[in-house]
Amino acid sequence: MTAAAVDFRGVSFRHADGTPVLDGLTLAIQPGEVVALLGRSGAGKSTILRLVNRMLLPTRGSVLVDAQDTRSWDPILLRRRIGYVLQEGGLFPHLSVADNVAVVPRLEGWLPEDVETRVQEMLTLVGLPPDRYAARWPDELSGGQRQRVGVARALAADPPVLLMDEPFGALDPITRAELQQETARLQQRLRKTILLVTHDVEEALLLSDRICVIDDGRLQACVAATAFDEADDPVIAALRDARLRGKAR
């Protein structure tokens, strides 16, 4: 078995003031695997993402990225190989669409013509024709378009790992469904290791290989997306019931 891309080993995290957030999380994500983290707001899902790119360090236990403890990673090097898609895009309002996408390649010191080519590719990839969108400004875009730019920016330097923090949470249902479909198609081609935070069961089922439920700072259950319908686990069963009730309504 190859080494896990991201490996949580007995990870606990408390805030500086002592508030517990995560308690003894153990979870290994394989290269190319998409894991959805499902749970209520405040369950500690975003904290898990921030532990991966060392924006936070665990209070106990360790997080391994490519078999190396995040404590021993240079945080800048680590973050440059981990794409991050924030809720509502988190675009830089003072940069054009093209410049937003170009941020990491430029930080990495790419040649200007390579950056240019890459921006064109990425915008095309996320369905924003560069000739129409490259020169636009974030506040001229719709929520869905901003989110596409956010994805393009996260993927621009071709990082092997992608963190997505409720990427489609703030979109209207139609746009959300559209983007979810496109992201699924994109992942078929790109085969990134993805950690996806969401509270939408449909989204988790559509995009992920594995669904993990986080509640109260603990990992409650983990199940392959294909096994979701049959799993006996009471936590999964409860989710399934809630989903069916939602559909019936």
Partner: protein, 511 residues
């Protein structure tokens, strides 16, 4: 209009003062920006630092500007008479708005935007230059705009410490009681403030427009170029050849005339003279002389005794002069022989009142005083030989506590009937011009105020010819001459330099 004619007649001077004004305000704003922006950025990242910093800047802002100049004058390297002190004071005032808007600009950045920068792998430095500063620029620009407008306004006060600028006209106008001259300075100063406000507003709008990619490079480059140009201009202005004699004066008509007489007399020996006329008050001149910012000015013996050296008043002329000469000598300054007149304080009333009630002496006035209001210059209220002692000596009580205002304004207040008693200069030309009467000091309260040039001893040693030239003035300026010259400046609006020239040419003849 008189003002327009004045501008046309003084084109070169107006432009020079305007240039100085722009330089003072511009340089201080630049220096303040160079200090407050990095400080604000540091404070924005360390909340514990920001409260005390803003508090301190707030406190500085509340110091009245004249008091600020008073604090700064005696400072060794930074203080002194001239543009350095003015720029320092104006810079201190400009710090707060820039500091505050820099902190707000940085702390106001959306958290998700900063998080995105960190998550994409920006180093703290990259985050600062590529995200935080560009996003804070509109806010910082608004702070600089406020600071610049405040600096243009406050720069008018810089004339009090000899830094020039349009305030020069305002002070000169106040000294000469000439509203045309006041307006000649005040109108362009106000126009300049509006212009700067408008221009920076325009720049700010452009920097905020989303259709332009905001980079730090443009503004930085502009600031850098301005800084280099400004600093080199300042360096040139601040540089002073050592063989130049600097003549100072206080800020009223008589002092302007005496300053000119001294300056022109020294120029007659072939020395170059730099004029720092119109400096604030006695203490500013004294400190400037002590620190070497000026080499010579004309003081009055009684003023030196009481206000400069804090000695009890004496009434024997010879005694006072001897004491003052010794005290000056101790601090390396030489009292030159008296010019010839005694400018004692004159308690003044309206001529009409004096005639109607038969007022001749201060004793007569003490009878009427309970029904009177009075206004005095700031110095007269504070000085040991001022109003408190006078009231005790003559038993004067007034209807209300005396109002304090600029000395030159008290004459107008008396003439227009707003007050009934003022303390003016015995030699003031306005006494005649406004039909006022000086009351006799029958009890000999006021010490003698002989006009005497005071110079730095080392300057006199370096330039013996200057001493001889000044000594040639001994006894030549009589009280009658001085009143006539003051009358020409204050009532006939003749320039002090012309009046001084006429005097030295022997063209001022008095009975």
């Amino acid at each position: 209009m008189d003002v327009i004619r004045f501008w046309l007649d003084h084109r070169a001077e107006v432009l020079a003062l305007l240039g100085q004004h722009v330089l003072l305000a511009g340089l201080s704003t630049l220096v303040a920006t160079a200090i407050a922006v990095p400080l604000g950025i540091a404070a924005a990242h360390r909340p514990r630092l920001s409260a005390p910093l803003v508090g301190l800047a707030n406190a500085v802002q509340t110091i009245p500007s004249l008091a600020m100049f008073g604090f700064l004058l005696p400072l060794p390297v930074l203080g002194g008479v001239g543009s350095r002190t003015a720029i320092l004071a104006l810079t201190l005032y400009a710090l707060l708005p820039i500091l505050r808007t820099t902190i707000t600009g940085i702390t106001g950045i959306d958290r998700s935007v900063r998080d995105a920068g960190v998550a994409l792998g920006m180093t703290p430095r990259q985050l600062l230059w590529q995200v935080e500063i560009p996003l804070a620029i509109p806010s910082i620009a608004s702070g600089i705009r406020i600071a610049a407008v405040v600096a243009v306004g406050s720069a008018t006060i810089a004339a009090a410490v000899g830094a020039g600028g349009l305030g020069e006209y305002i002070y000169r106008g106040l000294a000469m009681v000439d509203s045309t001259v006041i307006l000649a300075g005040a109108i362009p100063a106000a126009a300049l403030a509006l212009l700067v406000d408008g221009a920076l507003w325009w720049v700010q709008q452009r920097s905020t427009r989303r259709h332009r990619r905001r980079t730090v490079r443009g503004p930085l480059l502009a600031a850098g170029v301005l800084g280099v140009v400004g600093l080199s201009t300042w360096a040139v202005l601040a540089w002073r050849a050592s063989d130049v004699v600097v003549v100072g004066s206080k800020n009223f008509a008589e002092q302007l005339v005496l300053g000119e007489i001294v300056a022109q007399t020294i120029e007659g020996t072939g020395l170059r003279v730099d004029r720092r006329l119109n400096l604030g008050g006695t203490l500013i001149c004294d400190r400037a002389l002590l620190s070497g910012d000026i080499d010579i000015y004309v003081e009055y013996t009684g003023t030196a005794l009481t206000a400069v050296f804090n000695q009890p008043t004496g009434t024997s002329r010879r005694e006072v002069t001897r004491t003052v000469r010794e005290l000056y000598a101790r601090s390396g300054r030489t009292l030159l022989p008296p010019l010839g007149f005694d400018n004692t304080f004159a308690m003044l009333v309206r001529g009409a009142d004096a005639r109607a009630r038969g007022l001749r002496s201060i004793e007569d006035a003490a009878r009427e005083a309970p029904r009177w209001r009075a206004a005095f210059g700031y110095e007269f209220l504070d000085r040991p030989d001022g109003f408190t002692g006078l009231a005790r000596a003559y038993g004067i009580t007034l209807a209300a506590p005396p109002t304090s205002m600029d000395l030159s304004l008290t004459y107008r207040a008396l003439a227009s009937g707003q007050v009934d008693l003022i303390a003016g200069d015995a030699t003031s030309g306005l006494i005649r011009a406004l039909d006022l009467v000086a009351l006799e000091d029958t009890r000999g309260y006021f010490p003698p105020y002989d006009a005497v040039p005071v110079a730095r001893a080392e300057t006199l040693l370096r330039h013996p010819a200057m001493r001889t030239a000044i000594e040639s003035l001994t006894g030549r300026v009589t009280a009658a001459h001085m009143r006539e010259m003051n009358y020409r400046v204050e009532a006939l609006r003749q320039p002090p330099a012309d009046v001084a020239r006429a005097f030295l040419a022997g063209e001022i003849v008095v009975p």
